[in-house]
């Protein structure tokens, strides 16, 4: 008998509905009010998607090319040191990076291949994490041909592991940078092998976030080579051991600096934006850690009167002359800063440099204005849609229409309760999913009611028509909803961002619909039957 409910069933139905209300209620209060509630009261609220509250969705990818190039260049240096600087020297020619993928050179004396092999073996760079895996993973592998040709290249596993750790380090650095912006809960996650997804909701100026994250922020201190001729270097090439770099001024000023940095950003301990006491211009102060301070003191003692360059990502931001030895380990950079750019530089220096260049491969930002408009539009559309459907149901089914509407209301409460409880994100397509659910939720009621009408036409009594209507419609309702559920689940797994929001509300909507339209409606009808005991159905 479909219309009889055991006591425990009644209790569980009411409990589900009650839970729906309890979990929906926090959404009607502000975040602060909810925070002041005692812990045992459910206080989770719906999370609004970036398209509704405004914000930035930025997908970054590690620039493999430039990272490989950087590693190979470093390897060239290591090979040079290994063969030339330790005794006895081993002669070679043509050392360099070939095809962006390999480092190649030729030994002068093919008789010393074994000796060279023994030395080069130390450069394959075993990676830490591989110790646990049992087998050893090296970053590089190399071959030496009989004619003395040596080739170094990345191993696949070694490079993959390197990229993984680059992503991990980058996430740490980005987190330190973004946290200092003071936005609400930015989310920074790894995506796939070499990508990082940054989602920052409620941000007014996505451009600032992009500049902050996008900069490698590799800071180095170099001595300026004032003996060499800069103009000549521009026309031909810089002298050995020197680098040609430009300043951030407009027009840019060229400088020749020592290739090897005196100090790097890793020697820094702290950095703050402040105002210069005399000029009142925004400046950035920095302080070295102990070993950095010692190095800095030594360098400044030896080079009084010479200019040195502070270089950020290959651009000179300041090139002051060393007037006196700086022993305290702190200094200040006075470039052409605005208050904000000084602040940003200080943040970058505090957070440290990114281990590799990151490029944006996907960007979606929504301004707060559009977000608010979308919320408003979503509210109106859902209200109008729900009211229209509700009115239509009453017109079509009378008293049973009202019962369907009560079930629809409970359905809405359950959807919002479930979304809040799961901490799901509500997006604009998500709202569309809810409105669509409204249209389809009454489908189950329609199925049942149409079936009941048919049974009445076939001459059944009120109770038996209702009973048959419910039991015959159940299989159909399940089949129909499971097919839609399959589509929603696949959409969730293969979709991204707002589309996922749509899939979530659609899937939750289907589950709550089966409960509210089938179980809860049946419950209401059985109550009505018990109280009225009608001989004819008003349907």
């Amino acid at each position: 008998m479909m219309l009889y409910f055991a006591r425990w069933k009644v209790v569980s139905i009411l409990l589900v509905v009650f839970a729906g209300f309890i979990f929906t209620i926090p959404n009607f209060f502000t975040r602060d009010e909810v925070a002041s509630w005692p812990d045992w009261v459910p206080g989770r609220q719906l999370v609004l998607g970036l398209d509704l509250q405004g914000g930035a969705y930025l997908l970054y990818e590690v620039d493999r090319g430039s990272y490989e190039e950087k590693r190979l260049q470093a390897l060239v240096g290591d090979i040079r040191t290994s063969l030339r600087q330790s005794e006895p020297r081993i002669g070679y020619t043509g050392l360099g990076v070939k095809n962006d993928k390999t480092v190649q050179f030729r030994l002068r004396d093919t008789g010393r291949i074994d000796e060279a092999r023994a030395r080069l073996k130390d450069l394959v760079n075993p990676l830490d994490a591989s110790l646990f895996a049992g087998t050893q993973i090296n970053e590089f592998s190399f071959t030496i041909a009989d004619d003395g040709l040596v080739r170094f290249s990345f191993t696949d596993e070694g490079l993959a592991q390197r990229i993984r750790s680059v992503v991990d380090q980058s996430i740490e650095v980005i987190r330190r940078r973004v946290d200092q912006l003071g936005t609400t809960e930015p989310s920074i996650q790894r995506q796939g092998e070499d990508r990082i997804l940054v989602e920052a909701p409620g941000l007014d100026d996505p451009e600032r976030l992009k500049t902050l994250i996008g900069q490698t922020a590799q800071m180095t201190f170099h001595l300026v080579d004032s003996n060499a001729n800069v103009q000549q270097a521009i026309q031909t090439r810089p002298p050995a051991g020197d680098l040609l770099v430009y300043s951030t001024d407009d027009p840019p000023v060229p400088y020749l600096i020592d290739e090897t940095p005196l100090l790097t950003g890793e020697d820094l301990q702290d950095s703050q934006a402040t105002f210069d006491q005399r000029s009142n211009q925004p400046v950035v102060t920095f302080r070295f850690n102990t070993s950095g301070a010692r190095k800095f003191a030594k360098v400044t003692q030896q080079n009084v009167g010479r200019p040195f360059a502070i270089v950020l990502d290959n651009e000179v931001i300041s090139a002051p002359v060393i007037r006196e030895p700086i022993l305290g380990g702190s200094g200040q950079i006075s470039g052409n800063f605005t208050v904000q750019s000084a602040n940003d530089l200080a943040i970058l220096l505090r957070a440290g440099a990114l281990p590799a260049k990151l490029t944006i491969v996907e960007e979606r930002t929504v301004g707060p204005g559009l977000g608010a408009d979308s919320i408003e539009a979503g509210k109106i559309a859902s209200l109008v849609g729900i009211v229209a459907v509700a009115v239509f149901m009453i017109l079509a089914y009378g008293l049973f229409g009202i019962i369907a509407d009560i079930a629809l209301f409970v359905n809405m409460v359950l959807i919002f309760g479930a979304l809040s409880f799961l901490g799901a994100t509500l997006t604009l397509p998500g709202i569309a999913g809810i409105v669509l659910t409204v249209g389809m939720a009454v489908d189950a009621n329609v199925l049942i009611y149409e079936r009941v009408r048919e049974e009445v036409r076939n001459g059944r009594s009120a109770v038996s028509a209702l009973d048959a209507g419910f039991s015959r419609a159940l299989g159909t309702i399940l089949d129909a909803n499971i097919t839609t559920l399959i589509a929603a689940v696949i959409l969730f797994y293969l979709g991204s961002g707002p589309i996922r929001g749509f899939a979530v509300t659609l899937a939750i909507g289907i589950v709550t619909t089966v409960f509210s339209a089938f179980t809860f409606t049946r419950f209401l009808v059985s109550m009505w039957l018990r109280n009225r005991r009608p001989s004819k159905l008003p349907i």
Binding site: E61, T365, V384, A388, A396, A432, V435
Partner: protein, 314 residues
Amino acid sequence: MRLLRIVPENTHFGFMKNRFISFTLSGTLAVLSIVMFFSLGLNYGIDFEGGTVVEIATKNGPANIGDIRSELRDLNLGDVQVQEFGAPNDVLIRIERQQGGEQAQQKAIGLIRDTFGDTVDFRRVEVVGPRVSGELAQAGTLAVVVSLFAVLVYIWFRFEWQFAVGAIIATVHDVILTIGMFAVLHLDFSLSSIAAILTIVGYSLNDTVVVYDRIREDMRKYKKMPLLDLLDRAINQTLSRTTMTSFTTLLALLSLYTFGGEVIRSFTFAMIWGVLVGTYSSIFVAAPVLNFLNLRRGPDASGGTAEKEQAETA
């Protein structure tokens, strides 16, 4: 109180009599859609093609589309589309994917920001680079194919194979017609269009399954009735429900289309189309196709599950 009906009670329409008309219509439309898809092609949005979409709102009075267009043309960004977007001071700008990889896209958006500066409010910026767009296109196609397959398996499991094939024919029919609509109207085909198509798949199947359930039930009840009469009977029995549900769903979708804002308008438009096509196909395609698939009658045709259910309802 007299209750509202969309179709009268107890209809006896002869759907099967006209099955060749509806098949010709469906077949022609499907072929036309495919032709349109290959000749006109789809107007792929930046999700699949890569590129940039910027929605701006002018701060002083209505936007001058012509001026904006010529200002953008001076930037040499290739193909640029400028259109009003919902309100007189809202403008949607779309720029094709720039040559030169991921960085070039960022450079383009930088130029646009510099051009308009503070005179406009940047309501939305979406930049999709070449690599991601390729992946999104792949994932989107995969989503549609996998969901069709998953549903096929489910229906196969629950019904005889003719039903599964019929349901897939009807659903593929709806998907093809929807894609044809996108091609003909030159609507932006984006990730949300894929979502719309998947929802249409769900909805159309939902509708089809309801009709099929009834056919299966009637097959057990009226063992002697000729198949065509039986199909007619089942469609007529479910006609009231089919139209009622389509109507309520359309009510909700129309409200979304009218009040839901410009951003999801093409999404809801596709769904409205899908509901109409899905309703049509579950009546005029899904059921008649069973006749062509030689759905066999008699006790040997129904599987074990079917007999068990019969025992329950009896």
